[in-house]
């Protein structure tokens, strides 16, 4: 046996072209559905042609009227894009947290992000800071700031208590409880804002033009670039800190970088869309059950399937009880939970 003829025999877990193709196809189908379905009927094939037309260097006449073009491009497209960005970020952050903490139940809200964002949003809503549109809307800004406060406080508290992942998670629990208590207090004093705060917490993918997707995009990119760069390192981390260190990597530094990047993305997602639960858990685990456990597979596919999942959830949220809209957090859990149980029961893989 020589070094040259052996590698073909060795099958290593890695992202295959087939998996990427499936992911892109599902995402494309979800986006098309998201652009097609709505109060105004538009034929799917025309939407596909219109999408292709939008690509640089391609000129196709989709046959859509100007009004329909406007509906697709100015109303539905920003919302679908935001859904893709938020879903992809939450799924990827969840997968990253699960890898970094070696815990299947970790989700991007683990370290006080949800509670911090909730407190920030509650303060912004109750204190009536005015209604700046888009970038200057105080609610997402306050939610983002609150989420970062939650993560930073959890991290600092965790380091005081020790350096294990368990102490960090416990610190996150403590910080979250504290921030939630603060939120409850503020809310008690302003019970008239209860409805609005509650609606914010349940989450929504709503856009006014391109300002929300534009807000979300840089955080999405940072999270994707950083977390995907660490996909192999997270596989090494799976054997625990001591063995990972014995294999020549620095577990604490890797965990810190991955968690910070994932938290940044999750905080941005929360600030534009509220607390959409369950996505960060269900999507990565479904990918593990379907395609395998290696982070080389799970992390990139979480981006594609997470985006697709959120667009479909939003589609359900705005069509199931037309003309009203369901909060998307209700849809992700209501449809997501049974679907996940189904996957869990039919899969023969043991993923955790």
């Amino acid at each position: 046996m020589t070094a040259a003829d052996e590698p073909e025999i060795l099958t290593v877990s890695r992202l295959s072209g087939r998996q990427v193709t499936i992911g892109i196809a599902v995402l494309f189908a979800a986006v098309t559905a998201g652009l097609t379905v709505g109060p105004v009927d538009i034929a799917p094939h025309r939407v596909v042609l219109e999408l292709l037309n939008g690509l640089p260097g391609i000129e196709i006449d989709s046959g859509l009227s100007e009004i329909h073009q406007g509906i697709v491009e100015k109303i539905r497209l920003p919302r679908v894009v935001l859904g893709v960005l938020v879903g992809a970020t939450l799924s990827l952050s969840g997968a990253a947290y699960q890898g970094a903490f070696r815990n299947p139940l970790a989700d991007p809200y683990l370290l006080g992000i949800a509670a911090g964002a909730g407190l920030g949003a509650t303060i912004a809503i109750t204190s009536d800071l005015g209604d700046g549109a888009g970038v200057f809307d105080p609610v997402p800004l306050a939610a983002f700031a609150g989420a970062l406060v939650g993560v930073v406080a959890s991290y600092m508290a965790g380091h005081i208590g020790g350096r294990s992942t368990a102490s960090l998670v416990l610190a996150g629990v403590a910080v979250a409880s504290f921030l939630t208590a603060c939120q409850t207090y503020v809310l008690q004093a302003n019970s008239d804002a209860f409805r609005e705060v509650y609606a914010w917490i349940l989450g929504r993918i709503a856009t006014s033009g391109w300002s929300e997707p534009a807000l979300m995009l840089p955080y999405f990119l940072v999270t994707v670039v950083v977390v995907l760069r660490y996909r192999r390192a997270l596989d090494v981390l799976a054997v625990g800190d001591e063995e990972a260190a014995a294999l020549g990597i620095n577990p604490r530094r890797i965990r810190a970088i991955v968690v910070v990047a994932a938290s940044l993305g999750a905080a941005a997602a929360v600030s534009v869309s509220g607390l959409i639960g369950f996505v960060g858990i269900i999507v990565p685990h479904t990918i593990r059950l379907a395609f395998g456990n290696s982070n080389r597979i799970v992390l990139p596919l979480s981006v594609l399937f997470g985006g697709a999942f959120m667009v479909m959830a939003d589609l359900a949220a705005r069509t199931l009880v037309e003309p009203a809209e369901l909060p998307i957090g209700v849809v992700t859990a209501f449809l997501g939970a049974p679907f996940f149980v189904l996957v869990l029961r039919t899969s023969r893989r043991e993923v955790w």
């Binding site: 046996m1 070094a3 040259a4 052996e6 590698p7 025999i9 060795l10 099958t11 290593v12 877990s13 070696r102 760069r229 660490y230 192999r232 390192a233 596989d235 090494v236 799976a238 054997v239 625990g240 001591e242 063995e243 260190a245 014995a246 294999l247 020549g248 990597i249 620095n250 890797i254 593990r288 395998g292 456990n293 290696s294 893989r349 043991e350 993923v351 955790w352």
Partner: protein, 252 residues
């Protein structure tokens, strides 16, 4: 390559002093078994050589002047007593982790990484298990997989913490036999902790008896394993039968 010189090694974990001025010299290509009662500091000694613990004193590895250093993973491979087996991880992927010190945390696997992994899998008769999940294997198979990961690291030094703990008698012999073959094939320095004194006497070149964080005695099995030493340090009453393969320690 592979020699280890330890002088006046002191290690404390929290307030507890575990190693209190331990001296030990291990020559390149040697198999040294570390024996001693529970709590003597055997595992702590291995983990300190590995670079996992802060210490005072000195540890010098041949050809690797600074200790500990991030590059230590190219000099020392470690098989812990209870390895963490990640759920869902396949045998090939697990063994390939051993290449991390050579490719870094970010780079893709090179053809050399794949070739070394394939060679090690072949050598340890793990070809049939390549696509199995490590968790689905029996104790003996699993131990071979962990050993394969350590070999894929291609280090001159192999540290083994109780490599036979979870194995039945037959598999214990197989594992120690395998270690002996591998270290001769590859010129490895092996440092192992072993509970079973008879096995420790039968395999390896020398024994180091440590107790309360100090070296008591280092030498051949016949020199170290005497009724008196075992009485003093293990508080055990034994008979020692002088077999041709080495002394056999029998409780009375």
């Amino acid at each position: 390559m592979g020699g280890i010189r330890i002088q006046n090694l002191q290690v404390a974990i929290g307030d507890a002093e575990i190693l209190r001025g331990l001296d030990l010299e291990i020559t390149s290509g040697e198999w040294l078994n570390i024996v001693g009662p529970n709590g003597a500091g055997k595992t702590t000694l291995l983990r300190t050589i590995l670079g996992a613990l802060d210490y005072q004193g000195s540890i010098v590895l041949d050809g690797a002047p600074e200790h500990p250093s991030p590059r230590l993973a190219r000099s020392i491979a470690y098989v812990p007593q209870v390895p963490v087996i990640p759920p869902g991880m396949l045998v090939t992927d697990y063994v390939l982790l051993g290449r991390t010190p050579h490719r870094g945390a970010f780079a893709a696997d090179s053809p050399i990484d794949l070739a070394v992994t394939a060679e090690v899998l072949e050598r340890l008769d793990l070809g049939l298990f390549m696509k199995r999940e490590v968790r689905s294997l029996s104790g003996g198979e699993r131990q071979r997989v962990v050993m394969a990961r350590a070999l894929a690291q291609e280090t001159p030094i192999l540290l083994l913490d109780e490599p036979t703990t979870a194995l039945d008698l037959g598999h214990q012999q197989d594992m120690l036999q395998l270690i002996d073959e591998l270290r001769h094939e590859r010129g490895l320095t092996v440092v192992a902790t072993l509970h079973d004194l008879t096995l420790a006497a039968r395999f390896g070149d020398r024994l180091a008896l440590i107790d309360t964080g100090r070296l008591v005695q280092v030498g051949t099995a016949r020199e170290v394993l005497t009724i008196a030493t075992i009485k003093t340090h293990f508080h055990a009453d034994v008979r020692i039968i002088d077999d041709e393969g080495g002394p056999v320690v029998v409780p009375v």
